[in-house]
Structure formats: structure tokens, C-alpha cells
């Protein structure tokens, strides 16, 4: 009951800040005057008395801030402030924002449209048996993920009883010659069994959507700014919110444009499809649920990393 009353009071106080500030100012000034009078009565000279009173009171502004902290809803206000800041930051970088939003929109729109058509045309999703049983394994050096040496891999493969099978892989560039026109391609070197373990047919499928690997990574370039903000008083929660909000704003804008694109492409494709529809409500609903969650997770992990930045390290290695 006490908590409820306190929450109600804080909520009401949000709407009468000006009046409360006036009252607080009057009260503090009266306290200060009393302190000064006390000091004068105690024999202090008129120059020293106000200074001593200010020091004793702990500063007018500091006391005001401390009172404000206990009467309002700082978290809500801070959230709104961060949201406004994120919007302004995106607005200030129109080229980056447009590029990111358009990329997301095109990615989401194209993927949703293609997925809908593929799903409808083939009547079945891509086969991917037991995806929850496939994991990546790394070695650790000083707490950081590191590549596995071939001999370690062979030892793991021989000794491990936790996994059904272990497959090694590394990426590289290769020349592919066909009809006398060689071209450089990106490929992976894997140990035998790569495709069978994952169960992915060679002619279909993909690894990740483009946005799964990019959104939220801006924090890496902003380590200095985040460190500085922390040095100026930002808490871990505020940094987390800042990075999350920027990522989610981009994802939301991408989703909205993506759905518009899906509708447009679907509508156009309907005229060339026979017997199936290009707009599948189920797929659209799934995308509407899954993508925001994926975007949130994709932003949350780098946001948490950003919130752990050591201000001194960030400022020192600017």
C-alpha cells in the first residue's frame, strides 16, 4: 500500500514540476538564510557566513537534485529523454539512417516476399533436422574465443562423448575456372561430414539474414563516446537503453517499410502466379513476431557489451 501510494505520488509529481520546483527553491532559500543568520550569531564575519552556510547545506543545486530524484519518476523521464536523443541522432545522420533503414526494408521485404512464395510454391519449409542440436565450439584464450588448432580439433573429435560428431571449418578465397573465365570466390574448407551433420541440402537455404549480423554493432565504433558518457554520469542501464533504442528504431522503420514492400511485391507477383497467393498472412504474422524478437536479441548482446565499457580504457585509447 505504501509502495502504491509512493508510485501514485511520483506519477502526480511528474505533472506539477514547476510548482514543486518553486516551493523547493523557496524552502531552500529560507534554510540558507537561517544558516547564515546562525553563522552571523555565532560570530562569523559577513563574508564567511554565506560561504560556510552553502558548504554546510551541501550546495543549493545538489540538494535540489537530490530532492527531485526522490519525488519524480527518473526512470520514465530518462527513458523518454534517451528515446528523443536516439531519434535526433538518427535524424542527424540522414545518410546512415536512410541506408540502414532501406537496407533493412529491402532485406525484410525481399525475404518476406521470397519466403512467402517459396513456402507457397514448394508447400514445405526448408528441411533442417534437429537444429537445436547443432552448436559452435571454440577454444578459449584469456577468456576470449579463439580458433581451434587442427590437433586440438582431432583430440576433441577423438575424446568427446558429448557430441554426435565434430566438424572443423575455416574460410578462404579460391579461383573458380569455367569456360576460360576464372573468378575469385569465397568458400569454406570443412572436414568431411559438414553437410550431413547440419542436414542442409546443397541447392537451397542460407545461414543468416543480413540484419542478424549487423544491427546494433555501431557500438564498436562508439566505444569512446560510450566511455565518455559513462564518465559524465551515464549508468550501465542508460547505455544499454541508448544502444537498444537506436537498433530497435532502425529495425522498426525497416519492418514498416518492409511490410509495405512485401505488399507491393506480393500484389505485383499475384498477377504472374497461378493457383497460389503471393501474400501469406501466416508468414507475415510470423515475420512480424520473429523479426522484432531477432532484432531485439541482435541489439541486446552488443548493447550489454557496450554497457560494460570501462570509461578509463575508452578514454585512454581514443
Amino acid at each position: 500500500m505504501k509502495l502504491l501510494r509512493s508510485a501514485g505520488l511520483r506519477w502526480c509529481n511528474l505533472f506539477q514540476k514547476a510548482q514543486l520546483d518553486c516551493e523547493l527553491q523557496d524552502e531552500l532559500m529560507s534554510h540558507l538564510e537561517l544558516h547564515i543568520e546562525d553563522n552571523l550569531r555565532a560570530g562569523m564575519n559577513p563574508e564567511e557566513a554565506p560561504r560556510n552556510a552553502l558548504v554546510k547545506l551541501g550546495g543549493i543545486e545538489q540538494t535540489k537534485e537530490s530532492v527531485r530524484d526522490h519525488r519524480g519518476a527518473p526512470t520514465l523521464e530518462s527513458f523518454l529523454r534517451q528515446l528523443r536523443f536516439a531519434l535526433r541522432l538518427l535524424r542527424r545522420n540522414p545518410a546512415f539512417t536512410s541506408a540502414a533503414v532501406l537496407t533493412l526494408a529491402l532485406g525484410i521485404g525481399a525475404n518476406t516476399a521470397i519466403f512467402t512464395v517459396v513456402y507457397a510454391a514448394l508447400l514445405a519449409p526448408l528441411p533442417y533436422p534437429n537444429p537445436d542440436q547443432v552448436v559452435m565450439v571454440w577454444s578459449k584464450i584469456n577468456g576470449h574465443d579463439n580458433s581451434v588448432s587442427p590437433n586440438d580439433f582431432l583430440d576433441w573429435k577423438r575424446q568427446s562423448s558429448a557430441f554426435q560428431d565434430l566438424i572443423a571449418m575455416s574460410s578462404g578465397r579460391f579461383s573458380l575456372s569455367s569456360s576460360g573465365h576464372p573468378e575469385v570466390i569465397q568458400a569454406r574448407i570443412t572436414s568431411p561430414g559438414f553437410f550431413s551433420v547440419q542436414g542442409i541440402p546443397l541447392f537451397l537455404g542460407r545461414d543468416f539474414l543480413p540484419e542478424e549480423g549487423t544491427v546494433g554493432n555501431e557500438h564498436a565504433q562508439r566505444t569512446h563516446e560510450i566511455g565518455l558518457r559513462m564518465a559524465l554520469g551515464a549508468g550501465q542501464r542508460q547505455v544499454l537503453l541508448l544502444v537498444l533504442q537506436q537498433g530497435m528504431l532502425l529495425a522498426s522503420a525497416g519492418l514498416v517499410l518492409g511490410f509495405g514492400g512485401t505488399y507491393f511485391v506480393g500484389h505485383t507477383m499475384n498477377s504472374i502466379l497461378y493457383g497460389i497467393t503471393a501474400i501469406d498472412p501466416l508468414a507475415i504474422c510470423l515475420v512480424a513476431v520473429v523479426l522484432p524478437v531477432a532484432a531485439f536479441l541482435a541489439c541486446y548482446i552488443p548493447a550489454r557489451r557496450a554497457a560494460r565499457v570501462d570509461p578509463m580504457v575508452a578514454l585512454r585509447y581514443e
Partner: protein, 235 residues
């Protein structure tokens, strides 16, 4: 009145191979509210490091540190952040402004992390712009300012929240002499109003604005003198 800052045997070191390299050694020091303290000494003496510890920006040290009678060495990161946010302002040697924000917005940052209403934030920022004669620069970005102007913004940002403690690392290092003098006068005025100031400087002239000068060398406190008295070696 209890001291604002109490340091007891503060030490900071780095491990360089098999050797331990000490940056600060057994620093024991009391600073009273309202003091204007200057740390001086040769480069590498540990002045800036000590300042970042006092500003609670660095937590990798040993010893005991009491700020307003609160044991900083025992506080969690969040508690330290709260204590530092509400009580201290930092002036950095290399400005550290955010490039994507205007001068006005850079000044607003520390206020935005406190629960200060928008109107009051605006009035505090306008007051600071006015006080530092940078009203005309408020819509410019840091890269459109000279080094001296950027430092002025950095100082204004630390001063804007009227903290109990201002920590300044070579605050006038990049300013011309007239600007430097103005800044020091401002620090003096703030100090007269009850704000404790701790600065690191190589300038004897700037040190003379304070009432206490502490010399450091190789991480040790070597001697201390007041503006009026001769230097005396520390025990």
C-alpha cells in the same frame, strides 16, 4: 566538518612481465570541503592517475578512499557512478567532447543523466554558454571549434552542474593566456562559493590560485605547501 576526501594508502600498479610497475605509492591525503588543491610534479609522476581515481573513473587500485565519509573502495560500480555523478565534474586534458553533438548538446549531457527538468536544463546550458562567451558557438560541432574553444566547452560542461568537487586535468593547457586567466578566475569564484577544486597543472601561476599545492614524484607524495607557506616535505 568531516573531510570531503580521505585517501589511505592508495596504490596503483601495472604488471609488466615479471615486474610490477607502480604508478602511485601509499598515497594518504585528506581534502577538506572548500579547498582548492593543486597537484604538481614531473610528467609520469602519477598526477593524472590520482585525479582519475579521485573522480571515480578508475576503480583498479588498492587502499581506502572515503568520499563524503562513504567508503568508495567498498561501493559497487553503480553506487560509485551515482556518487560521482551527483558530486563531481571532470575537466579533461584532451577535451573529450562528443563529435556528433553540438556545443549546446555537449553541455546538456551531464544534466541529462540527472533528474533535471528540461526547462531548467535549458536555462543552465544558456547560463553556461553566456558565462563562457560561447553563445555564438552553441550550434557548432566540436570539429568546427579551435582547440581552445573546445577546452572552454569541456570546462563549461564540468562546471554546469555546480558539483561539490571539480577535478581539472591541465584545464588551461590548450588556452591562450587571457582565456586561461578567465578560467582560473572562474574556478576561484566557484571555490569561493564553496566548491572544492582539485587541479593538475605544471603552471606555477595557475597553482597560485589555490590554497594548497601537493607535489608528486614517481608515484609518491613528496611535499606539500600552502600558497602562503614554504614547502615542507611529507613524512
Amino acid at each position: 566538518m568531516p573531510p570531503l576526501i580521505q585517501l589511505r594508502n592508495i596504490e596503483k600498479s601495472f604488471q609488466a612481465g615479471a615486474q610490477k610497475f607502480y604508478v602511485l605509492r601509499r598515497i594518504t591525503l585528506d581534502i577538506q570541503p572548500g579547498e582548492f588543491v593543486t597537484f604538481m610534479g614531473p610528467s609520469g609522476a602519477g598526477k593524472s592517475t590520482l585525479l582519475t581515481i579521485l573522480g571515480m573513473l578508475d576503480s583498479a587500485w588498492s587502499g581506502e578512499y572515503f568520499f563524503l565519509e562513504q567508503p568508495v573502495h567498498k561501493l559497487t560500480t553503480k553506487q560509485r557512478n551515482e556518487l560521482h555523478k551527483y558530486n563531481s565534474g571532470f575537466v579533461f586534458q584532451s577535451y573529450h567532447l562528443i563529435d556528433d553533438l553540438t556545443v549546446y548538446e555537449n553541455l546538456e549531457i551531464p544534466l541529462s543523466y540527472k533528474n533535471i527538468p528540461q526547462k531548467e536544463r535549458a536555462s543552465l546550458v544558456c547560463d553556461a554558454l553566456d558565462r563562457f562567451n560561447i553563445v555564438g558557438k552553441k550550434d557548432l560541432f566540436p570539429n568546427q571549434l579551435s582547440g581552445g574553444q573546445q577546452q572552454l566547452v569541456g570546462i563549461a560542461r564540468a562546471v554546469i552542474q555546480n558539483p561539490k568537487l571539480i577535478l581539472a586535468d591541465e584545464p588551461t593547457g590548450n588556452l591562450h593566456s587571457a582565456q586561461g586567466e578567465e578560467v582560473m578566475q572562474l574556478f576561484k569564484k566557484l571555490n569561493d562559493a564553496g566548491t572544492t577544486i582539485i587541479q593538475v597543472t605544471h603552471s606555477e601561476k595557475n597553482a597560485a590560485y589555490g590554497n594548497r599545492i601537493i607535489q608528486l614524484a614517481d608515484g609518491w607524495l613528496t611535499c606539500e605547501k600552502s600558497a602562503a607557506a614554504q614547502s615542507e616535505p611529507l613524512r
